[in-house]
Symmetry: C2
Subunit: 240 residues, 2 copies
DNA sequence: CACAGCTAATTGTTCAACAATCTGACAAGG
DNA sequence: CCTTGTCAGATTGTTGAACAATTAGCTGTG
C-alpha cells in the first residue's frame, strides 16, 4: 500500500451515491473508467476486488465483469491470480498508438470531401472549445477539447467502429499523459495546429489538411517519446 | 535494483509481462468463438446461459464473463434482460467494416517499404496457402487463407493494436459470410488478386499494390452488398 | 381480434463457500 | 551475507444456490 490516507475511497463512495443505471456492470465500468481518467487511480496501481466491491457496494462477480470490459479496452491489465492493475503504457505502446491513429485519422481526413458539413462543423467546434478553455486557463478543458477534436476528425469517416476504436485509443492516451506526468498544458501548443487543420478542412483543402495533421502526429509523438526518455522506465515490474 | 544490462533480463521480463495463462473464462470464450465461426450457432441465434453453461460444465457467472468478452468483440449482442444473441451484421455493418479495413490495410501497404522482409514473406505464404487449398478444392481452406492474407497485410504496419483490431474485424466478416450464405468459394475468385498484390509488394511497388488492394475492396464490398440485397433484410428483429 | 392480467421462464445480482495461487516473512543451511 | 525451502495469510478463480427484476407466453374476456 502506498498511502494510508487513501483519498480515492471517498471518491468512489461519492460516485456510488450519485445514481443508478440500467446495468450495474456498465455503471461500475463507467465509474472506474472515469476515476482512471481523473487520475484517482495511478497507472500501475492494483485494484483489489474485495475493497472496491465493498466501496461501490457491488458483488465481486459484478465487479469482475466490469473489469473484463476495462481490460478489453486496455485500461487495466488482468494478470491471472494476481489481480487487475491500471495499465501503464510503455514507450512502445505510445508508438503503437500513433501508428493506428495515423491510419485512422489521416484516412478520415483524406475522405473528408465526402463528409457532411456537420462533421466539419464538429471539428471546428472542438477547436473553438479548446481556444475558450485556453482563454480561461482551464488546462483540463484544453485536454478534453483536444480529445474531442481528434474524435471529430475520426468521425469524418462516418464509421461507428472507427469512432469506437478511436475512443479507446484516446482513453489510452490519457493514461500516457498521466504516466509522463505531463499536465494538460501539454495540449495547449497544438491548439494553433488544430485551428489550421480545421480551417483547411472548412476550405475543402483536404490534402493540405492531411499534411498538416501528419506533421502534427510526427511532432506530438516525438515530444511524447522524448518525455518518456527523460522520465525513464516507470518501474521494474510495470504491468501493461 | 541496479542496472543489470544483460539481455536475458529483458527477455524474462517481457515473457512475464506477456504471460497470460489459461483461465476458464478465456477457454469458454475460445470455444464459443470457434463454434460461431464454424456455423454451429447461426447469426441471430439466442444463447441461453443455463443451457450452454450446463453443456460446457461451467457456472453461469463464468459463462457470463465469457459473454462479455465476445460482446466486446461484436460477435454476440447483449440485450438487457433478454439475453445474448449471435451477432447479425447488417448491410450497414458491412459498409462500416470495409471503411475501417480500408483505413488500416491500405495504410499498412502504403508503409510497406519500411516493413521487414518477413512480413512480406508472410503475405506471400498466405497466398500460396490459398492456391494450394484451391487445388485441393478445399473451400474452407481458401476462406481461412484469405483471412490470413489480410491479417498479414495488416501486420506490415507492425502494430499490435492494428493486428488485434483486424482480427476482430475479420471475425465479424465471417459472420457476414454466414449470413449471406455465401459459401467459402466466394473467396476463390480473389486469389488471383491476392497473388498480384503480393507480387507487387515483393517487387517493392507499394503504390501499385495499394491501388490493387483498393480495387479489391471496391469489388468485394459491392459484391457483398449486392448479395445482401438479393437475400433481403434478414429479419425484423435482427439484433446486431 | 385486441387486450389486460397472470404465470412461467430467463436474466441480473448477490452471497457464501472452497480451490488455486501468489505474497511475504522467517528459519535453515551454505 | 546470501540463497533456499517452508509455511501461513491474503487474494483471486470458480462454483452453486438464492432471490429480484424483467420478459415472454398464455388465457380469458370483451
Amino acid at each position: 500500500m502506498t498511502q494510508d490516507t487513501e483519498e480515492w475511497v471517498d471518491r468512489l463512495a461519492k460516485a456510488r451515491a450519485t445514481g443508478e443505471r440500467s446495468s450495474m456492470i456498465e455503471w461500475v465500468a463507467d465509474v472506474l473508467r472515469g476515476q482512471i481518467f481523473e487520475g484517482t487511480f495511478e497507472p500501475g496501481q492494483r485494484l483489489r476486488e474485495e475493497k472496491i466491491g465493498e466501496i461501490l457496494e457491488v458483488s465481486r462477480n459484478t465487479l469482475r465483469e466490469a473489469f473484463r470490459l476495462l481490460g478489453h479496452e486496455r485500461l487495466v491489465v488482468h494478470q491471472f491470480h494476481r489481480g487487475v492493475f491500471v495499465a501503464q503504457p510503455s514507450a512502445d505502446d505510445v508508438a503503437d498508438l500513433y501508428r493506428v491513429r495515423r491510419a485512422l485519422e489521416l484516412s478520415a481526413v483524406r475522405g473528408a470531401s465526402g463528409a457532411p458539413r456537420s462533421g466539419i462543423d464538429a471539428v471546428a467546434a472542438a477547436v473553438t472549445e479548446g481556444e475558450q478553455a485556453l482563454g480561461g486557463e482551464d488546462w483540463w478543458g484544453i485536454g478534453t477539447a483536444n480529445m474531442r477534436f481528434h474524435e471529430a476528425i475520426t468521425a469524418l469517416a462516418g464509421s461507428r467502429r472507427a469512432d469506437e476504436i478511436m475512443r479507446q485509443l484516446l482513453a489510452e492516451m490519457r493514461l500516457v499523459f498521466h504516466i509522463m506526468k505531463a499536465p494538460r498544458e501539454f495540449h495547449a501548443p497544438y491548439l494553433t495546429s488544430n485551428r489550421r487543420i480545421s480551417d483547411l478542412l472548412s476550405a475543402g483543402r483536404t490534402e493540405d489538411a492531411e499534411a498538416a495533421l501528419a506533421a502534427y502526429f510526427d511532432i506530438a509523438e516525438r515530444q511524447l517519446l522524448e518525455a518518456y526518455d527523460r522520465g525513464g522506465p516507470a518501474g521494474p515490474d510495470a504491468p501493461g
